[in-house]
Symmetry: D2
Amino acid sequence: MGARLIDSLVTTEALSEAFSDAAVLRAMLDFEVRLAAAQAQLGLIPPHASAAIARAAVVDTFDVESIAHAARASATPAIAFVQALTARVRTTDADAAQFVHWGATSQDVVDTAIALCLARARTLLADDHAHLVRALITLSETHASTVMLGRTLLQPATPVTFGLKVAGWAAALVRAWSDVAAAFEETLVLQFGGAAGTLAALGTAGPDVQVALAASLQLACPDAPSHTQRDRMARLVCSFAVYAGALSKLATDIALLMQGEVGEVSERGGRSSTMPHKLNPSGCAVVLASASRLPGLASSCLASMAQAHERAVGGWQGEASIVRDAAQACGSALSAAAEVIDGLTVSPARMRANIEATGGVMFAERATFLLARTIGRDAASRLVTDAVSTTRASGTTFRDVLASMPEVTRALTADELASIDAPESYLGAAEIFRQRLIAGATSSLAP
Amino acid sequence: MGARLIDSLVTTEALSEAFSDAAVLRAMLDFEVRLAAAQAQLGLIPPHASAAIARAAVVDTFDVESIAHAARASATPAIAFVQALTARVRTTDADAAQFVHWGATSQDVVDTAIALCLARARTLLADDHAHLVRALITLSETHASTVMLGRTLLQPATPVTFGLKVAGWAAALVRAWSDVAAAFEETLVLQFGGAAGTLAALGTAGPDVQVALAASLQLACPDAPSHTQRDRMARLVCSFAVYAGALSKLATDIALLMQGEVGEVSERGGRSSTMPHKLNPSGCAVVLASASRLPGLASSCLASMAQAHERAVGGWQGEASIVRDAAQACGSALSAAAEVIDGLTVSPARMRANIEATGGVMFAERATFLLARTIGRDAASRLVTDAVSTTRASGTTFRDVLASMPEVTRALTADELASIDAPESYLGAAEIFRQRLIAGATSSLAP
Amino acid sequence: MGARLIDSLVTTEALSEAFSDAAVLRAMLDFEVRLAAAQAQLGLIPPHASAAIARAAVVDTFDVESIAHAARASATPAIAFVQALTARVRTTDADAAQFVHWGATSQDVVDTAIALCLARARTLLADDHAHLVRALITLSETHASTVMLGRTLLQPATPVTFGLKVAGWAAALVRAWSDVAAAFEETLVLQFGGAAGTLAALGTAGPDVQVALAASLQLACPDAPSHTQRDRMARLVCSFAVYAGALSKLATDIALLMQGEVGEVSERGGRSSTMPHKLNPSGCAVVLASASRLPGLASSCLASMAQAHERAVGGWQGEASIVRDAAQACGSALSAAAEVIDGLTVSPARMRANIEATGGVMFAERATFLLARTIGRDAASRLVTDAVSTTRASGTTFRDVLASMPEVTRALTADELASIDAPESYLGAAEIFRQRLIAGATSSLAP
Amino acid sequence: MGARLIDSLVTTEALSEAFSDAAVLRAMLDFEVRLAAAQAQLGLIPPHASAAIARAAVVDTFDVESIAHAARASATPAIAFVQALTARVRTTDADAAQFVHWGATSQDVVDTAIALCLARARTLLADDHAHLVRALITLSETHASTVMLGRTLLQPATPVTFGLKVAGWAAALVRAWSDVAAAFEETLVLQFGGAAGTLAALGTAGPDVQVALAASLQLACPDAPSHTQRDRMARLVCSFAVYAGALSKLATDIALLMQGEVGEVSERGGRSSTMPHKLNPSGCAVVLASASRLPGLASSCLASMAQAHERAVGGWQGEASIVRDAAQACGSALSAAAEVIDGLTVSPARMRANIEATGGVMFAERATFLLARTIGRDAASRLVTDAVSTTRASGTTFRDVLASMPEVTRALTADELASIDAPESYLGAAEIFRQRLIAGATSSLAP
């Protein structure tokens, strides 16, 4: 009963594997095996018990379906899982069976298992992030001086460089990743508190077991269990959502630049089932489809934070599915974005052509500021507005129209007039900004 | 790579099956087979082609994994699916292969397949809804005169009946279901528009094929295709969310009533892994966990409605996963709620005991209104406020305190005073309201 | 302390007024005045009390600031409001003061006041909806045969008509409005239940007062109070969100069509502060900005449905602000969309030019289907794919390329070849679909 | 047209003021005045112009209503605002009027104004946060050894201390605030990029003006403008949402502990309009009502991140209202929570009584672990399960039942048996965990 057809656009194969039944089961078994090992080492349970538990922890021998089925009766898969493990241990060492899950509670094993699955997801996401940012840095450097239309409210504004646009994407992803990484750091902690979060069943040994177990699982050891303080998980999901939001900006830009009428970039793209002339921004579609899942998932996770007392009725029990979906959708968007950038074709010629197609009126602001030096902004505005109208009515260029206006030729030098519509000469601080952003992105990747 | 461990609390087995790869593939094949049949009947494609396509449409022979893998390259599973079907048809009838997916577009087959999966979900949800409402009607009738504390802001207010509380649950579910049913009615439509929604490849035959195909698939035939008008699907997901919200109110009430300190009802419940004395509101936990997914899913679906032109880059491609999750989470909450109600134990004695434990001060409003008839509300309020304080300070009952106050005994009859803390005599219109609500719920189930 | 600068893009002046302090206060006073009148008529309170309460209910004499300030202490503005009204009544009729808010609870007056404010919003929205749909019907009829590029994934697909695109907008709005209207019908109900929803303080007279009060306020009378069953309000907010989603599709299309490089339509638009050549899709920006608020508001309203017992701690107390924001944002989007359509300029010439600019390759599907009749789809696909490549490489037209291919000229008639890139002849069922959609929209406006 | 009645529960007076028309206008004027001053200092505009602009920048002389009205036509209040300022400057210095808003774009002034308003909000929130955390630390210390029921799934589990519960609240708030503070640090930046984000109108002087202006406004100077990279704002709103989520956990716990049947704590609370015996958790209601707004606001902000090119159509124009609502709702929840804690009454006696009311069965886990040492867990479990049943059936205590079971008296010492239901002796690491959490909270407040 897989769901790959519906899920294929909102997860990747590696991230499906990271949260698969096998992966979750392996993580739950890891928790129990290492818990027993730590307790044996501290003399709380007999060594043979720890050994027997380790021997029984073979993923393939568990019947996931029946554990999942039983989960609904107790609102957690942990109880049926512990029973199955216990039964398995009992077959080889009846005494050892009594020490399975010793002093732990259901939420301990589930929360920790999810943290272990997230640790795997972190690696996958981090690799793709670094790959994507590296590719964006290269792309930005390549197109440091490739001029193109700046577009505000989807209308031609003043020129920018493609290198600056790409640097903006990279910088946002770097900022967002910095928060994802910090959130992972905080979230990949051991959950181990026992029935009510005090580890009372372990007497005074609780904190020692906690420290040893965390180290063994390569998870951080928190100050205290946090069965009903879900800020860490909510923050992680929010950080995924911000990151995916930054990806969605990149994909929106590319899909718009790839429009038939614009044609400035092209991803490798996908084909249509019936239209051989089409090349679709399929990668961008996957980015945007995946990213569209995140805001809602973040809101679900946030709305579930009002959890009662020492273990909630409801908020917690749905969290794993939300966190999993969020990690997968974020990773799916990231993976698709990396492929888009890896295969991106850029057309500097079309970028310049689209500038020229404006007839030069996009340099109206520039003309206004140049004229304003000598005749004041009000007069300059009036002149330029007239020139824009004339340009549009006549089908000639803004430069020619300006050259025909005596008030203009008096106020501008011949050089200024000649280069009035040269995009290279109206880029302001574009390259300074680009270099700063790329420097930040580059240093973020340093080891 | 199933995900039953994580998903077990937010879907049911039947709903997992309804959107499984097998179910989706079957639905996609149904679309193609019946499309070919309709076109053959209308003379658009040769009969042998239709027959060959039908022969090739055997679910088990498709490699779902490779279709899902390929889906990411074109942002839809449809292209790889159509190629796989075509290849399969070609092995028996090369000419027929040319008529696979004739005149249709990728979104046609995907949208229609999801509609077919949703039709199955509708049946599952409708059955559970009817079962639950019937159980609630019975429960309400049984407890028509079972008095209990009304609680506002979690504090004792004036008395209500358990029957009224249950009737309130039922009525909200009936209202919400009426909207779910209407939304299903609108959403279970054929999608068939071809490349840009005009069915141009079929010449003038498009509308006839549309009508025949819809009838064959038992879906409604809409006025026109709606590739980028997603209001129907958004409305359906919202209706699931409202329905699940109504379930979450029911589950909240039950979990609160089942608290150790309250003890007025109990679901069959789940056991703790380490605490034998515990009986948990596990069913309520599943209801609330599942319901907590819906608001976020609704917001995702709504936020994806801004779809460009004739097919979107992004909004649509993530929709199926959202709709699937919403149907499953709603159904999971519903199924759990039905089990909770089926196994509910009610303790009228404890309900009465909790009323008595207030010492009668919860009848302060009643006393005020009775006294106000003769001494005015201001004086009544002062007297009653004093009586409440005295009751609390003395540990005696409110009735005894009132009986000791001459201003009170002058104003109330002996009968009034004697029954001042009889909950049965301060229920106002509770039974009238209950009967109206139950009448509405009952008639909603009529065939 | 108004907030018009920040709110100006997400509400209208009329909708600000509909939920202003004055409007809310007037509605609360209406509730109390008509409650007293109904109770006087039924003999529950003395006639002079009703008269005194009516006399005291003068909006301008209340100190809203102090009521709002006091609201935080009791988690409702109702208590301070009732105290203020009572004090005001007392100045003219001390006895009457005792009958203010007789038998009602805080939530009764607040919920009913919001319903009254929503009734005003309904009128505003309904008028704008009818205006917009009428304008869209006219626009669609005018452009019934105006051909334009169909665009899928932002790439040229096959042709459509602008009239069909507009009809799609209209039909979605009509469907969505039908749900808004139904949700209003269900939501504009009296809330009147007293302390715990039983109207116990009124003895047996509760239902009679309920009926009389509802009639007097021109609200529907529900079967029972529903202090903690919030499905009606959640459904209303969801219906606003779906409606706004349909508006956002319209605005997305228009903003994209208005791009400099596309230029097919133009709204009256807004000016830039520094760029005289610019005309911005400002109206679309307001539609999209307003619409972007709705999905989140819907999720908030939905997530608040799990309300405990007879009055919630928390879910209800924030609802009014959510519902108000939702009604205003929906109305703001609607009002802006109506202005966009009223001022829309359409350029059929540019639409045709953009079709021609594809060099005819957008008719590749058409050529394939025509050729397939005689040479089969596989061969046709190969030929057409070659022709598309040749067209793009050579800079000539698709028609000329096809005309130079003997396999093609053998298979197509001269007429077919001559009109292969005539968009009018490849519209399929566009006009049939358009007429069906417009017929539905038209009949939805019939009285 | 204020909206204090509806907004009173989701904002505070100070935060209403921080985003009021007056505050926004003042911030917008600040931007323009300091921009002119920086440009004059750098020799870009004449000193008299800067002086004239400063003179004209008097908040009270602007007609906010007409600016707000005009905002809808251009999708920003900035254009009408700049026109109004320019007109005002012109009355005293016509030449100076030409230098208003020199080189800036509408989004520059709006984004920066919102950042300035947020700086004020930061101070308000930071003060309340520090106050609340200090109060929680004190409360936790006071109740370090106050035992109470641990409750999981709302059922009695094993004992905890109230001090630990409070420490859990504090620690979550401290973690969440640390992210809010970091997000403020990143978000309180100058926005200054001109028409397309390159500051081209300022020639090469752009970056110098940027640095000087940021310093003058006490905002950080970012690497580059980020008109369409909204990750900072989205992250800030998410951090508010996580913080409010942590508050909602605290409020949920308190409202539950304050239930009539539990009675372990009490906030000062609010009164009912008709029930003198009631004391409502009104503060908790305000916390939860305010907090319920945040998840939806976060999702709206996140879903708006897909902004096109150099300035978006739609996503940005609605952002200010979302950010404002989020800051206010978070601050409202925080302020209410601080009042709740300041006025909290704790009843250690009732906490102990509720433990005793379980008859000791909540120590079943403890008994199991003690017995398991000698007879193994399986046998222990069976014995204890029997003892729990006997206790419940007989109405005696768990301790007495155990004492009557020979298998138990053989396995436990007399001391162990005597103290089997002493909560103090089954607290495990509660105090260690509490101290760690409080140490972290304390050090977070250090200057």
